[in-house]
Amino acid sequence: MEHEWIPNSNEQIKKAMLDYIGVKDVLELYHDIPKQVLINEEKWDSLEIGKKRPLDQIEVEKIMDDVLNNNKIFDKSKLFIGGGAWPHYIPAAVQYLAERGEILTAYTPYQPEISQGLLQMLFEYQSLISDILEMEVVNASMYDMASALGEAFLMSKRINDKSKILIPETINPFHLSVAKSYTTPHEISLITYKVDPNTGYSDIEDIKNKLDDVSAIYLEYPYQYTGIVDINAKAISEIAHEKNALFIMGVNPLSLMLYKTPGELNADIAVGEGQPLGLGLNFGGPYLGIFATKWNAEYVKQMPGRLIGMTTSIDGSSKAFAMIMQTREQHIRRSKATSNITTNSSLSAITAAIYISLLGKKGLKDVAESIWYRSHYAAKKINSLGFKSPLFEGEFFGDFIVDFNTDFEKIRSKLIDYGILLGIPLNQYVTWAKSSWGLLSFTEVHSKSDIDFLLDKLESLGGL
């Protein structure tokens, strides 16, 4: 079957190659496969794979148009939903650059001499994140924040071999599930500490009561399911270090443009979700797991994932980049490796580097301020509509909970008719929330008129 994606699929070319190999038929090349296992052509071709026949590209585009059009298509400025992934503005230059074929179709840069551009981009990603976090070591990416968190917990155990990790009650439930998957085989128990029901801040006393054999205390900052930026961050850091436990932070790189950084708060490990840095929502992926640690050889040795370093050519004449500390990795260390990760999220990391470069310090701060302003404006206005908004009184960034006094899911459904997707019905995901609570989210994609449109529609549903 001749196909444009398979150059040698032409019958004459194949015949010439088979002749040269010295076989009559391609089947001869498979003669070592047990007969019971080998599938015959007819059977294979009759399987319900695709449309059971090759399609022209024109047919494929038509089908995919159907696939995409058979969804409710929301304008991104009408998506008021976050909870671990947020609609953001992505400048056109980001996608253009990240999709250039030399980057998109490259493999892991095993041959550094011919991949300096790729390596430099990844080094720049590490560096830019490093400056945002104020931490000196950043790896070249993890799958996403959740898996980065799982790896952080394993790393903590490898460092101090203690078995308990304290996590906040209002942790992102997806992160929790993943953290459990990762840690269960290694006998780490995840212990929840409480948050204050009024402020949404962590309950320091509760933490102090649970410090026995603690390997690490984890703080989500801001909490993705409440939007609260915990004022006790510094205190928790100090408590952890007093007990020789690690302080692990889970961050949003954008909020760090305004709030204290893991570096300032003396975190040992920081993980974060890089999706806000120029990546789409993509119904869940791919995203970008940020992983950073302190300038500490033991930590770096125990760190999972790939690291790019700056060095020079052997003759010292030019700067050069290469993968470093490879002895931690699976392809060399095998069962002793710090992680099994190999393919990570390099292209997401490069995308983030392009995004950060395009905006620069001022642009990123603009975005953070936009998020702050919009969410605070919306919270205030929704409150004036007669709802408890925000539910928690603590400092918040971007996301906040509103108690709508009635089933939030119903409100959400009604608004879909206006092309609005409003927030997350929290009680579907966490046990601590009521069915009347919705987690709303606001970013720079929402203009004042977008928010006012939402307010207007919310008001019109008043009688609900």
Binding site: H3, W5, I6, N8, S9, M17, I21, Y30, P34, D45, S46, L47, I49, P54, L55, L68, N69, K76, A85, P87, E102, I103, A106, P109, Q111, E113, I114, G117, M121, S127, L128, D131, V138, Y143, S147, I231, K260, T261, E264, N282, F283, G285, A297, G309, T312, S313, I314, S318, S335, N340, T343, N344, S348, I350, G360, K361, G363, K365, D366, E369
Partner: protein, 513 residues
């Protein structure tokens, strides 16, 4: 090019900003008020450059990168095939990229239907019963499988007994690493002369502690495990589970299916067999497919899947997502999966159909064996293990003869390939082959390029004999010559970030200790 760091372009300009956007809010809310002890003290030292500088910077850097779009990337076990621009266009359509992961199911029926179909297609391709599209990459698929093995034995009450996983010595490094992350010990089985897993060694390693076996088939040597049916039977007799590493599926695509060989579970690397781009290191996508079976009582193996699956609810006439329940180890990442990659693979399978997938597999195998034949008479390169056997998707040559004769190494040879416009093969892997060159052309390479590649290898051989020092100087045509890896890794000079570099220059940061 010799492109400066983005930092070196300065911090005096203005990037894309949204300042104006906030004025109207500021008038209502006043200045931003953040509690003093939560306020960041100092703005980060990020570059401030104009848009054209960024565009040029990354344009130039991209020209200093090398992908399949640039030329052949014959990295063995990486299956670097053509990444169709058709799929790029579709998977980056904003009708997809702006779907939020927690959108109500009723608003994404088109997408869920496609994902549902993809699950079915991958099941049929692997001969399995269920697939979760959840894992973020092949290695995470492996870990998912290992965690399922763990859960399987746990539910059966055997987890304290079952603590070993068998892995052949030709396996990818991820196999033992994943087993370890799942809390298992790995037992390595040597490879026999013919390239199979040594059957006697396997038998004597098999025991009551055996929780499972992880196997790549065809192996990293490109060879099909001839005794696979016996192996499967023996492992199952010990109540072990068989895990199929799908990295090399391209070698038997359309010809044999792991489900038919006795495997209980298999992950797929969508960036390998199903043409999603590798992006210089990811993101990937590693769906996990399983053959269903009873675990205990009414618990089925599919209940243990550590990821969501899309189901069709006939009553409600809609597609829904079934998230893992209490018998699952839990999730592996946030949300559904790497959906851009999934849709890319969906379009790939849709375009080729079963016939095209089979053609892809066959041509990949023809390409490998054609190359082997081209290299047959070369004295510098040998074909260790199963010397008389056909390979599947890839082949591992050993440059040991050339190395012994001239001192020229697999690494030198790689650099010589770079100089002639090729990417290099995977080298020094698998570990059981000395001076290994692991070569995989996939079905995307032309006959002409395979011939050129073979010729270049022979040319390098000639050069090595004539002047053994010359290859040590390679590469000459790349943007940088060979790299100082000692400096790169030394505690006093290691530089993982620009920040570290600056702080060290300022005397704030010492050696990495």
């Amino acid at each position: 090019w010799n492109e400066p760091l983005i930092y070196e372009l300065g911090n005096t300009r203005k990037g894309i900003g949204f300042k104006e956007n906030n004025e109207e809010f500021k008038q209502i809310l006043g200045e931003i008020s953040i509690p003093q002890n939560l306020k960041r003290e100092k703005d980060p030292d990020l570059p401030e450059v104009s848009e054209i500088e960024v565009v040029r910077h990354f344009t130039r850097l991209s020209e200093m990168a090398y992908g399949v779009d640039s030329g052949p990337v014959p990295l063995g076990s990486c299956t670097m095939k053509y990444n169709p621009k058709l799929s790029l266009k579709i998977s980056s359509d904003k009708r997809l990229t702006f779907i939020h992961p927690l959108q109500p199911e009723s608003t994404i029926q088109g997408l869920l239907k496609a994902l549902y179909e993809l699950q079915n297609w991958l099941s049929l391709i692997t001969g399995m019963d269920y697939c979760t599209l959840h894992p973020a990459a092949g290695a995470q698929g492996e870990l998912s499988g290992v965690l399922m093995i763990r859960k399987y034995h746990e539910i059966k009450g055997n987890i304290n007994l079952k603590d070993e996983i068998i892995v052949p010595d030709s396996a990818h490094g991820t196999n033992p690493a994943s087993a370890a992350m799942g809390g298992f010990k790995t037992i390595e089985i040597p490879t026999d002369e013919s390239g199979n897993m040594d059957y006697n060694a396997f038998l004597s390693s098999l025991n009551e502690r055996t929780a499972g076996l992880m196997l790549t088939n065809p192996s990293t040597l490109g060879l099909f495990e001839e005794k696979i049916l016996d192996v499967a039977k023996m492992v199952h007799e010990k109540d072990g589970l068989l895990y199929y590493d799908g990295a090399n599926l391209n070698g038997i695509l359309g010809k044999a299916r792991p489900g038919d060989m006795g495997f209980d579970m298999a992950h797929l690397n969508l960036h390998k067999t199903f043409s999603t781009p590798h992006g210089g290191g990811g993101p990937g996508s590693g769906p996990l497919c399983i053959k269903d079976r009873i675990v205990k009582d009414d618990i089925m193996l599919h209940d243990l899947l550590p990821g969501p699956i899309v189901i069709y609810d006939k009553k409600d006439k809609m597609y829904k997502i079934k998230w893992p329940g209490k018998n699952s180890p839990g999730l592996m990442k946030s949300f559904f999966g790497n959906v851009q990659q999934l849709i890319w693979a969906y379009t790939y399978i849709l375009t080729l159909g079963p016939q095209g997938l089979r053609e892809a597999g066959e041509v990949a195998v023809i390409n490998t064996n054609y190359f082997i034949k081209l290299m047959e008479n070369s004295k510098g390169y040998s074909l260790p293990y199963g010397n008389n056997r056909f390979r599947k998707h890839e082949v591992v040559l050993s440059a040991e003869p050339l190395h012994e004769e001239t001192g020229v190494t697999a690494e030198d040879i790689s650099k010589g390939l770079l100089d002639s416009g090729f990417y290099a093969p995977t080298i020094y892997f698998p570990l059981i082959v000395k001076e290994a060159l692991m070569i995989e052309f996939t079905e995307s390479e032309t006959k002409e390029n395979i011939e050129k590649f073979a010729n270049r290898l022979k040319e390098i051989e000639d050069i090595a004999r004539r002047n053994p020092n010359e290859p040590k100087q390679w590469p000459l045509n790349t943007s940088v010559r060979r790299i100082d890896m000692v400096k790169a890794n030394h505690p006093k000079t290691i530089t993982p970030t620009y920040r570290a570099n600056i702080l060290r220059q300022k005397g704030i940061l010492g050696p990495l200790r």
